[in-house]
Subunit: 203 residues, 2 copies
């Protein structure tokens, strides 16, 4: 069953909440989740119906079962290997983001064109010369690239990645990429996100 | 008129496309925009109807007018001042993200509790001791905090920011914050985003 994007997003947030529960909190109610996220109670219950989760009783959901049901549904156990393209601050931050591992994202290596960065290691991930990406895509069978390079290089490098065999680009640059149709792009549109935030609330 | 979140997000992407047009490209069609984003043509036309934009003719939209209409609609000129909380890699990356300025986000200063970072400057933004945040919130009248600290400190620091007078938290931590109801939180849920990306396409 395909789950709408917004629901996937909220299920991840529910998982954060469950992660933070103390050991003695065995149950959690939809009301509690809804209140923490400032959303509607019925929304939470509807989202949870997408899961294969029968751990509901009068006092709420069984927290451990609900957590496991989210993990199974969203495939946290199915590791997805990825490369980070760009070893600047943002790339380094993502390489150090150990939570990714828990959610199925396995970052194998990083790439840059700066000789000072090539050969260094960030959180156990080696930085390779960008020219090596095709070779390593084939050898390691990696399909996902996380693009964190400066805007002015984004389009060119995206085409280069497509040519190297990358099939999915998670794009953190403020730039719309023009790649062949067999490459899927997911725009992590930070500026759009900020604008949503501030336009809704008249900051 | 309130604009749905998804539309705001797409309008920002249209703006990226318009930014990248060459000087001699005076017009752009909805088909071209739709094709670059792999969405439906009618969607683009519908989104643009939210704008106060009369620059449409047979060959497409007047690119300069459309760009200006998006800027006016989403308030790029209304500067919103913000602080970055956490001067690690992610905080530094956001501080160096000069594009924010063009879209109305004005980062005034950063805060950390690491003595080695306090007093340094990142892209012209000084890093202050976190204990100073209340004072500077009042003096500079800042309402927005961008939270980029490690997960384990997120809840505590969010409460501290609420107490210091912050009204909007853009939360980059994988943690659901529990703050008083007069503080609005926007979760930049990177893990949810990755899961949406990979669940839709069976990577």
């Amino acid at each position: 069953m395909s789950i709408p994007d917004k629901v996937v997003n909220r299920l991840a947030l529910y998982h954060f909440i469950l992660e933070d529960l103390k050991d003695d909190e065995q149950y959690i109610s939809s009301t509690k989740i809804a209140q923490l996220l400032n959303i509607d109670n019925s929304q939470v219950r509807k989202d949870i119906k997408y899961l294969d989760n029968s751990g509901k009783c009068r006092v709420g959901y069984d927290a451990r079962r609900l957590k496991k049901a989210i993990e199974d549904c969203l495939g946290f156990q199915q590791k997805k290997d990825a490369f980070i393209i760009g070893a600047g601050n943002l790339g380094s931050a993502l390489a150090k983001y150990d939570s990714f591992q828990d959610y199925g994202l396995n970052i194998l290596a990083m790439f840059d064109n700066d000789p000072k960065k090539i050969g260094t290691t960030i959180n156990g991930k080696e930085v390779f010369n960008l020219t090596k990406v095709g070779n390593l895509v084939r050898r390691l069978n990696v399909e996902i690239a996380i693009l964190t390079i400066p805007r002015e290089y984004a389009k060119g490098v995206a085409l280069y990645l497509a040519g190297a065999g990358i099939k999915y680009i998670w794009n953190f640059t403020p730039c719309v990429l023009d790649v062949p149709s067999d490459v899927k792009v997911w725009n992590e549109n930070l500026i759009g996100s900020f604008l949503q935030f501030t336009n809704n609330d008249e900051v």
